[in-house]
């Protein structure tokens, strides 16, 4: 495909255009209920962003990490403290700095990846998850000595304008997600991403071809943690509207891992598909439980069933399509294209 604008092909620009029209015009005109923004679209964007972070380290660089929620917590609490203590920084500035703080944690806890891989690395990254949550919980300074345990997040103010309605918050999340997604795509396609993938496919071979393992792995962990940190800050400020360490426990890390794997390892659009699926499926299941069985099934049973189905899907995808839903979507598009061209030939 020939690039038409900078290095982007025609297909890229059409995709971007379709997404922009959909998210900026169609969704705001047709969706009026607040529920959709506060409970589905905003968390979807935040979690998709965190999943991109997980993708960078797991899907592209092939390092099994399980601490996304810890970095999200670091980002969220950094944001809270920055707005509280350094008000001059502004919302966007604080968001970037809190991402950088999370990235520093990412570098620290990514260092073991130089020595170990696979399950060993997973344990090392679990340390980050437990340590960060513990640190925030135990040192009152991070929570501004608030004893209740739950802190209300400050209002979002950008350039003097408050962004407090669900729709406005949706636009904030959308803007951040769009910028960071484009950045991630650029990185994944450029030499950075090629180095990541070389390390993923065979680290020893990559090293002998001159790819610096130290630089590549640390870079991947830093960028991953940056994305998670920003996502965590948005998650706390736009979705939860409060800050509590419990919200970022190991369960959220697993959730993001599932989004990453089911969505499709090593794809950016997989992050969005996976996040949408993991978020929407419980909603759908609850709706079925309430409307078809009229609440005859206990809510705890429904959540257990949800867990079983996620687990089963994970196994089924690993066996039949390790590349996840993004690959299924790709196959579907191929099939449709093939059908269209063959029917054109007949006529």
């Amino acid at each position: 495909m020939k690039p038409v604008f900078m290095t982007y092909t025609k297909k890229d620009l059409t995709n971007l255009g379709v997404c922009m029209v959909l998210s900026l015009i169609i969704i705001p005109t047709f969706i009026k209920t607040e529920y959709w923004y506060t409970s589905i679209l905003i968390p979807w964007l935040c979690l998709a962003l965190a999943t991109i972070g997980q993708q960078v380290v797991m899907g592209y660089t092939g390092q099994l990490a399980l601490g996304a929620a810890g970095f999200m917590a670091a980002g969220a609490f950094a944001m809270f403290n920055l707005i509280l203590r350094v008000p001059d920084l502004g919302f966007v500035g604080s968001l970037i700095v809190s991402g950088l703080i999370a990235a520093a944690f990412g570098i620290l806890f990514g260092l073991p990846s130089l020595k170990v891989r696979g399950i060993y690395l997973m344990v090392a990254t679990l340390a980050s998850q437990f340590f960060i949550i513990w640190m925030i919980d135990k040192f009152g300074w991070f929570k501004n000595y608030d004893s209740s345990g739950i802190i209300t997040a400050q209002d979002i103010v950008i350039l003097g304008k408050p962004f407090t309605t669900p729709l406005a918050m949706y636009f904030v999340c959308l803007a951040v997600t769009t910028v960071l997604t484009l950045l991630a795509m650029n990185m994944a396609r450029g030499s950075t991403g090629r180095n990541w993938m070389a390390v993923r496919d065979m680290d020893i071979a990559a090293e002998s071809m001159g790819v610096s393992l130290l630089k590549t792995k640390v870079q991947a962990f830093a960028i991953s943690a940056f994305y998670c940190g920003v996502a965590g800050a948005l998650f706390a400020f736009c979705y939860l509207k409060s800050l509590e360490p419990v919200a970022f426990d190991i369960k959220l890390s697993f959730k993001i891992l599932f989004m990453c794997i089911l969505g499709g390892l090593g794809t950016i659009n997989g992050a969005f598909i996976g996040a949408a699926f993991i978020l929407l499926f419980p909603v759908l299941l609850n709706a079925v439980g309430n409307n078809v069985f009229h609440g005859a099934i206990d809510a705890t049973i429904i959540s257990s069933i949800e867990q079983v189905i996620f687990g089963l899907l994970m196994i089924v995808f690993m066996i039949y399509e390790p590349l996840g839903m993004a690959k299924l979507w790709e196959n579907l598009k191929q099939n449709i294209k093939l059908k269209l061209t063959s029917s054109n030939k007949k006529t």
Binding site: V116, F130, K138, I204, M314, M318
Partner: protein, 302 residues
């Protein structure tokens, strides 16, 4: 001075014995890793599933203790069989990481099934052994050590001796080691791969049940058991993934360090460092001895 020393001993012994509880969970991981070089992330879920089933049989159906234990063990054999058939066999040629992710999925399935079948409330499990200091030891040695801890230590020791003997001296054990070394070569000389896998997964299931009983008697049978089982991971890293004695030594190290750190250093940081101290300890081990104390050296080729 003497009192301080006694207190330190008490903390240390308590930690060591609590460590055997981690060892019991770690043992299940080691069994499967030894035989199939697969890391079974669902071991924690298996602990939860098996002991919840055991409690369910006893409390919901009024089945006597021994019979319920046997039924639960049989259930774990069925789980092992299904896992081998439906998860492991299709993934025979897949990469290690793929199998690991599939076992994470398996863990989710087991957790969900257990909660759907037996509910989410915390259940009490009474083994007939109290979680209180043994009077005889308290009187004579001035140490307060829980009877349950001692019992768990004994059970762990018995299981480890039994399994070590099995691996070392029986034909099955030889087969297990052959499969672990090179599954393809082992099956080409006629070792029944499927039976070996079934056996290992069933054994891991029973080990999970025993570990679950110990944990359940202490902390109640509840979902938190799954998180507790995560602590078996640093134990494995310290002991080595493929070593049965490693599992016990690792457990002892983790148990003792965690308790001693918590009592002597914890107060300076506001306590509850137990949550992450084992993982940080594991990181240090990873940096200096990635294969663990007793593990085999990992050699990778391009």
């Amino acid at each position: 001075m003497v009192e301080e020393l006694l207190f330190f001993m008490e903390v240390l012994v308590g930690g060591l014995l609590a460590g055997t509880m981690y060892s019991l969970v770690a043992l299940g991981f080691v069994l499967i890793f030894k035989a199939s070089a697969t890391f079974n992330f669902s071991q924690g879920a298996m602990v939860f599933f098996s002991v919840l089933a055991f409690c369910g049989f006893m409390q919901d159906f009024n089945i006597p203790f021994v019979l319920a234990f046997i039924l639960a063990a049989l259930l774990m054999v069925v789980v092992g069989l299904c896992t081998e058939r439906l998860v492991l066999r299709p993934l025979m040629n897949a990469s290690e990481d793929t199998v690991l992710m599939a076992t994470i999925g398996l863990g989710y399935v087991l957790e969900g099934l257990a909660q759907a079948a037996w509910g989410v409330e915390v259940r009490r499990l009474d083994l007939g052994i109290g979680d209180f200091p043994v009077p005889w030891i308290a009187d004579n040695l001035k140490l307060f050590i829980s009877a349950l801890d001692i019992f768990a230590g004994l059970v762990a020791a018995l299981m480890i001796i039994g399994l070590s003997l099995l691996f070392k001296f029986t034909k099955i054990g030889l087969g297990l080691r052959a499969v672990a070394d090179d599954a393809g070569a082992a099956s080409s000389i006629g070792i029944p791969l499927k039976h070996i896998m079934l056996l290992v997964w069933s054994a891991a299931g029973v080990v999970a049940l025993v570990a679950g009983c110990m944990w359940g008697a202490r902390a109640g049978v509840q979902f938190a058991l799954v998180d507790l089982a995560l602590k078996a991971l640093p134990v494995l890293i310290i002991g080595g993934f493929s070593s049965i004695p490693g599992a016990i030594i690792g457990g002892l190290i983790i148990g003792a360090t965690e308790k001693v750190l918590e009592v002597y250093i914890g107060p300076f940081f506001g306590g509850a460092i137990e949550g992450w101290a084992p993982y940080v300890l594991a990181i240090f081990f990873l940096l200096y001895r990635p294969e663990g104390l007793f593990g085999e050296k990992i050699i990778r080729r391009v």
